[in-house]
Symmetry: none
Subunit: 226 residues, 2 copies
């Protein structure tokens, strides 16, 4: 379950350095110098985070960023921009466009790694091994444990992934289609109604200890947590 990283950098020397550094950190690294290709790769195998150089060929970083954000599956993937010193204007636009952080060149790999860790902790607690909380629900991704109001709850693997998916996006309505690709994978040919059944099972498990139903049904749209 090593987190996957996509590095978009067209300076070969820097790219190599970054790949090497992050692999040493235990990340699985994908890499391309090209904005267009980055989008393709990201769509194919959504990474857990993206390191994006501002100035790249084909498509500017800002453009890649914007397109990623538009793609529903990729909208919440954290992005760190690499900018040259002084591109103040760009930095602002970058953050507006949806970058989560930026790092000014020149930088040390250590710094970038630290920033990435911070961003991941903030946006994808599950990958950082942080336990996630929502009201009296806790999910510990490392120990694979779920507690409601302190009491341990047993979940099957699918139920667990489903709940994790919800807890990473609290309050957000997820369509059955999104849940299928998010929980079962992009290439699964699962009936959409199966989602209903797993939701029912998840509900039964979560609410067994009493307390209100944590999963909201949004008719003709999907489900959401909370």
């Amino acid at each position: 379950m090593a987190p996957t990283l996509l590095i978009v950098e067209d300076d070969p020397a820097l790219a190599e350095l970054l790949v090497w550094s992050f692999e040493a950190e235990g990340y699985k690294v994908l890499q391309t110098p090209d904005g267009e290709e980055a989008l393709l790769i990201a769509a194919e195998t959504p990474p857990d985070a993206i390191i994006l150089d501002w100035m790249i060929e084909q498509l500017s970083g800002i453009e890649v960023c914007r397109r990623l954000r538009r793609h529903p599956e990729l909208a919440s993937v954290p992005i760190i921009m690499l900018t040259a010193r002084g591109e103040e204007e760009d930095r602002i636009r970058g953050l507006e466009t949806g970058a989560d952080d930026y790092v000014t060149k020149p930088f040390s790999p250590r710094e970038l790694i630290a920033r990435l860790a911070a961003v991941m902790r903030r946006t994808r607690p599950a990958l950082a091994g942080q336990t996630m909380r929502f009201e009296d629900l806790e999910l510990d991704p490392v120990a694979h444990r779920v507690r409601r109001d302190g009491k341990e709850i047993a979940l099957g693997p699918t139920e667990f992934r489903l709940l994790q998916h919800f807890m990473e996006r609290p309050g957000r309505v997820l369509s059955r289609g999104q849940l299928v690709t998010g929980v079962w994978g992009h290439d699964s040919d699962i009936e959409e109604r199966t989602v209903d059944v797993q939701v029912k099972r998840l509900r039964a498990a979560i609410n067994s200890t009493g307390g209100r139903d944590m999963i909201r049904t949004v008719r003709s749209a999907g489900y959401s947590l909370g």
Copy 2:
């Protein structure tokens, strides 16, 4: 729910480039080189935005723009004009006529896409997932929630879409026909009177917590929010 775009451009090469670029962005694209036809297409299936070349055959851009603005259904569709460098005079007239932005040739598709995104964010917040507000009413398209004066309000799917439609166009009077195509879809054969019934249901839901009626009936014209 991809936003629809109408591109009016008579240079085939440029038109193709634009169609390609915007489709890659996830827009649904309609295209014509001809001003007259543009008006027909726009009247038939109102797009979410229009890219309009200044110098086109049949009808000048400015004329198309003016006619669009006269057409009640299309008056608020954002328009971006494409002008040749130095047509300062035209640019001013363009903005006066009701264009929302203009881009000077030559330009990169990137720039145009960015401008469009900015315009859309301004005019269609729901597409960007932003919470919309009108007085003490809030609609959160991502969480699929509606609140009045902080209190949550339950709406059925159609009521929700109807309210969203109103909130994207606050204060504007919408005819039953506009509401039918906007809320039910271009190709629905719904009785126009059905709008009345859904408006009644929406009113009942929204005003249930007390407070004044947020939906105004405009006799022999339609309804509006506020």
